[in-house]
Amino acid sequence: MQKIGVFICWCGSNIAATVDVEAVAEAVKTEPNVVFSTNYQYMCSEGGQSAIRNAIAEHGLTGIVVCACSPRMHEATFRKAAAVAGLNPYMVEIANIREQCSWIHKEKSEGTEKAIILARAAVAKLNRNVPLFAGESPVIKRALVIGGGIAGIQTALDVADAGYEVDIVEKTPTIGGKMAMLDKTFPTLDCAACILTPKMVDASAHEKINLYTYSEVESVSGFVGNFTVNIRKRARAVNSDLCTGCGVCVEKCPSKSAKSEFNQGLCNRSAIYIPFAQAIPNVPVIDRDACIKFKTGKCGICEKVCTAKAIDYDQEDEIITKQYGAVVLATGFKPISMERYDEFQYAQCPDVITSLEFERICNAAGPTKGKVLRPSDHEPPKTVVFVQCVGSRATVDCGKTYCSKICCMYTAKHAMLLREKYPDTEAYVFYIDVRTPGKSFDEFYRRAVEEYGVHYIKGMVGKVAEEDGHLIVQGSDLIADKQVVIKADMVVLAAAIEPDPTARSLGTMFTASMDTNDFFTEAHPKLRPVESPTAGIFLSGLCQGPKDIPDTVAQAGAAASKVIGLLSKDKLMGNPCVAGCSEPLCNGCSSCELVCPYGAITYEDKMVIDHGVRETRRVACVNEAVCQGCGACTVTCPSGAMDLKGFTNLQIMAEVDAICR
């Protein structure tokens, strides 16, 4: 016989405004085995939790139902409170009467009726609950960081400094990411390379950090504390152990017509290349699509000139398999393609460029050695127009509905740097809003206007037309209620940013959920911002949402602290709500094995006693350490052999019956 207590939360007015909590408490009193019910303003507060503890002790409760917010929010809180009072935490049921009830109803009578039904269903389920006990699993004391930009580097350094091993997997030939491409950084204007490259060196020199560049994650299995990951280390065709990084091969390579990715295609690179001078590792890679040797079998110059004998055309991809306790996604971003923004003539006019291209043009190590020159004729521009929000805050076509967050600040920086270097060059910025919520950000933008004389025009550009070697920029000036036409020499588009395309496949691989824009979602938008809802997966940097460098570094550190918290444990409590197979009922059909997303189900030949008959049958077996309790197998099983602890078929049916009563 159960003795059940029911606790109804007001959630301030969140629930109480649309649900008559008193009536709910009264109504559940007649439900089977309910011996106590009450309501309270905030059940999650210390007052609420102590009410639960006291009631358990006073009434000898064997289980409790908390009618409150979503279990995603506070199930763990109430389980802990119950455990303190000596109750098995799995004897706690949550009826979600906020998100699924009070927030969606306007009429109090309707809200109350639904809350009573939800409470009734939870009681019906709890009547069939049994105490569950979690198993333990060990924690592998190593973290995997996917992405070697500033986010990944910072997370790796922080985790490694705490004494844990970290591997960074980076898909390009070098770590450094987008930050390595930048010239100066707002709002302090320190040089990006000066602050980034020492961190890159630290990461590569750290005894606890291992770099896998030019590598990608191929597959993953396992669960929090114990992931097994296959990493494909792509063949550079250069032996990293022998290479001295002298660069002679790069210099002598006769194939020099591939576009430099690092310089945003503004200049060419050789087929064997090092992305930039401070690249780490300082080992070249052969681009097989551009290499004459790989294309025709002839050439081989790099091999001839390499005194270290490091060139290896026969090198093959290598698969490395390693175990990790935690995984950090730090996959970063890229600017969106400007191909669909032909009103700005990006694809047609070489002097219409993106902000990242402008960044390379400003950079002393860039294609113009830091001189601001037009790509078309290498002449310095006399008038430059910056266009903000190109593809951001757009609900049509290939635009992004969100604000890309970094553009207002880098555009102010670009205009300021331009005016600083070339006081005779005019800079115009078309803006919809100038968004500068950050420390010293607005002051920075105002400096661009007040000290550097950048012309800020509230409005948008409608069309760019090339006429007689100039770019005729037609835009609106909403303050003056005018249409303005500016004869410019260069147009810089602040392209919206989007998650790196690799994020999607990694999200699927790691079951890390994503939003409609392919940004990784956090376990809680405010309270758990650096964790994925999937245990053991953490988020660092722009892959979670647009952010600038200071925010990225802060988040990278936060992710590291969560990783350290996990790796510092020797064992993890598992989830006892896992699937199990009733062997006499199993017909060996393999349906469950096929739907299981975690590979937790295998089939084995076992001795089964069915109606007194002993025979050997092929039956399903669940690896409880791998099972995540998703329940896919239970709904797939045609014979009802599969059941999920904590969510048994009987429990679910009891809930349905209670609702339909």
Binding site: R393, A394, V396, G459, M460, V461, G475, S476, Q483
Partner: protein, 130 residues
């Protein structure tokens, strides 16, 4: 807002099919409009005046007769607002009532020249008269 203007605003929103609240006031319509100089109420203001229910001024606007229906604003609006549809809806409110026609058949002969295409006369009638 005047009761009549409120009624008109509703009609204009209904016949245009435009959700004026989607406008984020970026001004790309006015940046784009090839006939901006001839519009007394510019496209971006036209949208916000419908939003504000300031219809009386729109009914008097020269812009009604100067919008070319070239759809450049519709094409380039990042929020899918369709300013040209609003202008058409207001123009309908002017030409639909009796006596509202701007172009009358009697006026046509004087406008004709040797090469004027029928298309011009028909389209002008459709835009300026009912």
């Amino acid at each position: 807002m005047h009761a009549d203007e409120k009624r008109l605003t509703e009609i204009i929103i209904r016949t245009s099919g435009v959700n004026v609240r989607k406008c984020m006031k970026c001004g790309k319509c006015s940046a784009t409009c090839p006939n901006f100089a001839e519009m007394d109420i510019r496209p971006h203001r036209f949208v916000s005046m419908v939003e504000e229910g300031d219809i009386a001024a729109l009914l008097q606007s020269k812009s009604l007769w100067r919008c070319l229906s070239c759809f450049a604003c519709v094409e380039r609006c990042p929020r899918g607002v369709e300013p040209a549809h609003l202008i058409e809806a207001v123009r309908m409110e002017v030409v639909r009532p009796q006596g509202g026609n701007r172009l009358r058949p009697e006026a046509i002969p004087a406008l004709l020249d040797e090469s004027i295409p029928q298309q011009l006369i028909v389209s002008a009638f459709r835009k300026y008269s009912k």
